[in-house]
């Protein structure tokens, strides 16, 4: 027995020694790989006189689907145009939804981070670590050479994200301004079912509830079967935040002021109103009983097969087109546009109708620390171009002469459909979102069809006129402290906590009180303390 033990000990120690030897071999080479990276605290050569970019740069880019979208400039006119204009060529480094976090971390560890990469690491410890260890670089302090970019960096929902006065990212814009989120929440409703059942356009929560119930119980498609659903959703977070618009916590995922101090909306008194309404919809049979087990996009699938009366989903024209495509495949011959209407959420307890409002970006473009100042300048010029009038026109309307003509102030499409270059998505997923909701309708007719575009735009105009944006204080939302960031990940899974209570048969109020206690044990009070301290310190109004 002793002999065996000695053997095992000896072998283990041999292994440990050899492991260390190999590690020594490994360690030295790893650091030499990454030591070339410029430390971000090195004073940036100010970009006052932008160095002339004589040679073309090859920029490696990683973002979702880049492999699909970045093909050959010879066949993709949009790509060629932008590459020629900015004197850059782009090289795809593929990542997908399933692997992007892993891949970025691996690339960071092996010194292979792409020049530009997109991810949603905002306010997470990962970004802090990357900055501290010099893996990503900052923008130059002086952005005057990139006027369009500079304007974006000064938006009220971007500015607070600077760290020690420096920006380590360029936001990947989802919208050009927070107002445009008005189309991000709403209901697509079966107008034809409303007509069949003789239902007027609802204006209160009770009327909406009654309408959804009627959809579910009164056989609106007149097929004699009990197979219809009232309200369902395309993404459970969309459901959660849509219902919030009509409650006492319209900004349910954010921070609100109560009794003079800032607390997460989830911990505020308004939650009882939210939960009561949510539960009523579920218990009344207005809400899809399967709402908790649906995967993303299941709701629109169900809507497309014709079993659903109302769908909580984004209501922009692109989303409408997506649902229409599904609908046309499942219901050939039945007009999607004529069967639906867009409805806002019912007014909240305070009498206001709220519209969704949020930060213009959820993810950002980061830059490897290995990018030198001159290359960075070229990249920033490219990103600036995307936001310039010329760039916006290019992405929003296409090529003048081929896709559209300018008649005075109006944009007139030349053809009924537009060529869809794959690289359009490549630029879209960076910051090439064209004119957003300021895009002339006519140009969009060629892409998504006139009826849908008009419906979406009319709804948007109505929202801006008649609905209030949900109250958000971006200064508070983007405070970055350890406890707040930690609690942020608790907030992010709010739908799990709420769903459990909705499905449970017990007392909602008592159950939520219990949940608040659980939040306390997960750092609620520390987060509140740090946030209020930061508010006082930074003088946030």
């Amino acid at each position: 027995m002793k002999k065996g033990l000695r053997k095992i000990t000896a072998v283990t120690s041999v292994l440990a020694v050899s492991g260390a030897l190999l590690a020594g071999c490994g360690g030295s080479n790893e650091s030499s790989e990454s030591s070339a990276s410029a430390s971000p605290t090195v004073a940036e050569a100010s970009a006052s006189a932008s160095p002339a970019v004589s040679a073309a740069y090859n920029v490696s880019v990683a973002l979702w689907d880049v492999g699909k979208n970045l093909t050959d400039p010879a066949t993709d006119k949009l790509l060629k145009t932008v590459e020629d204009k900015t004197n850059l060529t782009f090289e795809a480094k593929a990542v997908t939804w399933n692997d992007y976090k892993e891949k970025y971390n691996l690339w960071a560890a092996s010194g292979e981070l792409p020049d530009m990469f997109v991810t949603d690491f905002r306010l997470t410890p990962t970004v802090d670590t990357w900055i501290k260890q010099g893996l990503i670089r900052a923008l130059p302090d002086d952005l005057s050479a990139y006027p369009n970019l500079q304007k974006v960096m000064e938006l009220e929902d971007i500015k607070p994200l600077a760290i020690d006065g420096k920006f380590y990212f360029v936001p990947r814009l989802s919208k050009l301004k927070p107002d445009e989120y008005a189309t991000e929440r709403g209901f697509i409703v079966r107008k034809d079912w409303m007509e069949t059942l003789g239902i007027q356009t609802p204006t209160t929560f009770e009327e909406y509830d009654a309408m959804f119930q009627a959809f579910a119980k009164n056989d609106p498609d007149k097929n004699g079967k009990n197979d219809t659903i009232g309200l369902t959703h395309n993404f459970n977070d969309v459901l959660g935040t849509t219902l919030a618009l009509g409650s006492a916590v319209p900004n349910i995922k954010g921070w609100v002021q109560e009794s003079g101090q800032w607390i997460p909306a989830l911990a505020s008194q308004g939650m009882y109103d939210y939960l009561t309404k949510f539960k009523k919809l579920y218990d009344d049979g207005a809400l899809d009983k399967d709402f908790a087990i649906l995967n993303t996009n299941d709701g629109s699938d169900k809507f497309a097969t014709g079993n659903v009366g109302a769908l909580a989903i984004q209501t922009g024209d692109s989303t409408l087109k997506m649902v229409k495509d599904k609908w046309d495949k499942a219901n050939p011959g039945k007009s999607f546009e004529d069967s639906i209407t867009i409805l806002p959420v019912w007014p909240a307890a305070d009498g206001n109708t709220y519209r969704f409002y949020s930060a213009t970006a959820y993810s950002d473009i980061y830059f490897s620390a290995k990018v030198d100042d001159q290359k960075m300048d070229a990249i920033l010029k490219f990103l600036d171009f995307n936001l310039s009038e010329e760039g916006k026109d290019l992405y929003a309307y296409g090529f003048e002469g081929e896709d559209y003509k300018k008649e005075g102030d109006k944009i007139v499409p030349v053809a009924t459909t537009r060529v869809n270059y794959p690289s359009y998505n490549f630029f879209f997923y960076l910051n090439g979102i064209g004119h957003g909701m300021d895009t002339a309708r006519e140009a969009k007719y060629a892409v998504n069809g006139q009826k849908l575009v008009d419906m979406a735009y009319d709804n948007y105009d109505w929202m801006l006129q008649n609905a209030k944006p949900i109250p958000i204080n971006f200064g508070v939302e983007f405070i970055s402290t350890p406890a707040k960031n930690k609690f942020q990940s608790v907030i992010a899974t709010y739908m799990d906590d709420i769903t459990k209570i909705i499905l449970d048969k017990g007392d909602t109020q008592a159950a939520w009180d219990k949940q608040i206690k659980a939040y306390k044990s997960q750092g609620l009070d520390d987060a509140i303390k740090e946030v209020n301290e930061a508010v006082a310190q930074q003088g946030i109004q």
Binding site: L22, N29, A109, T124, I229, N307, D497, L503
Partner: protein
């Protein structure tokens, strides 16, 4: 340049290990041997003869060893990350933080719950899922006509090729509010039920669907073992008057026992990973999470948002490995002490 450095170290290392090993054995033998000197020299010569006699076996072993060294042991130093705060520039240069990561793990709010779930689900699988392929292998073996046997064998593997993503979709179609199951209940006048959101029955659902998916695939190795049984043994038993059942217990089962034990020990050695991340991730939902959340799904969700460091994830891996190791060794030595083969 890096590769040369590596091969150099490895060659030194392997030779060094070999020399140390030999000298260990030498000293070990020398300790036991009461008569030193000449007797130990004789032992050494014997040993050298042994090694030379086994030279072909060493040759056969070489590819495996090369694989183990290059692809498993070269990166093995990464385990030390469990005790370090990962520095992206250098694994070994990362600063030590001792047991900090482990404190983080145990300090996770729901750690006790998810750890218990992991063990309960994994052991539940051993109890409920593990025996099923064995039973069905025996059943299939009882079918007389070869054509039918082949048919069953092949058809039973079909579910193995469907991913959990697809299967969870099928489950929703089947058990959802508008699913077939509830439609039947409804037509019978019974109240609808949603098994998918019932925390009490969810584990049963996990086991049931997993049995359905993997049972057929699991029979393959047993069927392979059974087909190695000499058919003459069955004929001999027939002559001895053995009935069908007796033939199974006296011939088939003893032949399977070895394989069963090996697979059982291996399963115990994978408890922390065998709870089934893929299945649970695709099938769970907010209502059942308390009951179904295992360590892996919990960490995936929680740190998905927090962005856990590599130090933390390595520590989690090490923790799981240690538990697996303990269970494996316990299983292996208990089986061995009862006179059966064990794992090695």
């Amino acid at each position: 340049m890096r590769l040369d450095c590596l091969t150099m170290k490895i060659t030194e290392d392997v030779t060094g290990k070999g020399i140390i090993a030999v000298s260990l054995i030498k000293s070990g033998i020398a300790q036991v041997s009461p008569i030193r000197g000449e007797a130990s020299n004789k032992k050494l010569r014997e040993l050298k003869k042994h090694i030379w006699a086994s030279r072909y076996l060493y040759l056969l072993l070489l590819p495996l060893l090369a694989y183990l060294i290059f692809f498993q042991y070269v990166p093995m130093y990464g385990l030390i990350l469990s005790f370090k705060e990962f520095d992206y520039h250098s694994v070994t240069g990362s600063p030590w933080v001792g047991l900090e990561h482990f404190r983080e793990i145990f300090g996770l709010p729901d750690f006790k719950r998810v750890f218990t779930n992991t063990l309960v689900i994994a052991l539940g699988r051993l109890i409920f899922e593990f025996p099923v392929p064995i039973l069905f292998a025996l059943l299939i073996n009882e079918v007389r006509k070869k054509r039918f046997r082949t048919f069953y064998q092949i058809v039973y593997t079909f579910p193995h090729f469907l991913s959990w993503v697809i299967i969870s979709g099928i489950m929703i179609n089947f058990l959802g509010d508008m699913g077939i199951f509830n439609m039947i209940l409804d037509s019978l006048g019974l109240p609808k039920t949603n098994l998918l959101t019932d925390a009490g029955t969810f584990k049963g659902l996990l086991f049931g669907t997993s049995i359905w998916k993997e049972m057929g695939w699991g029979t393959i190795i047993y069927l392979a073992t059974i087909s190695g049984i000499n058919p003459e043994m069955y004929e001999a038993a027939e002559i001895d008057g053995a009935g069908r059942f007796k033939k199974v217990t006296a011939i088939t089962w003893p032949a399977l026992k070895g394989t069963v034990l090996v697979l059982f020990i291996l399963a115990l050695g994978n408890v922390m990973g065998g709870a089934g991340f893929d299945q649970i991730f695709n099938m769970d939902n907010a209502a059942v999470r308390d009951s179904s959340d295992i360590l892996d799904t919990y960490i995936y969700r929680a740190t998905f948002l927090q962005g856990a460091s590599f130090g933390f994830t390595t520590a989690v891996g090490l923790f799981k490995s240690l538990i697996n190791c303990a269970l494996l060794l316990i299983a292996h030595y208990s089986v061995k002490s009862r006179g059966h083969g064990g794992l090695f």
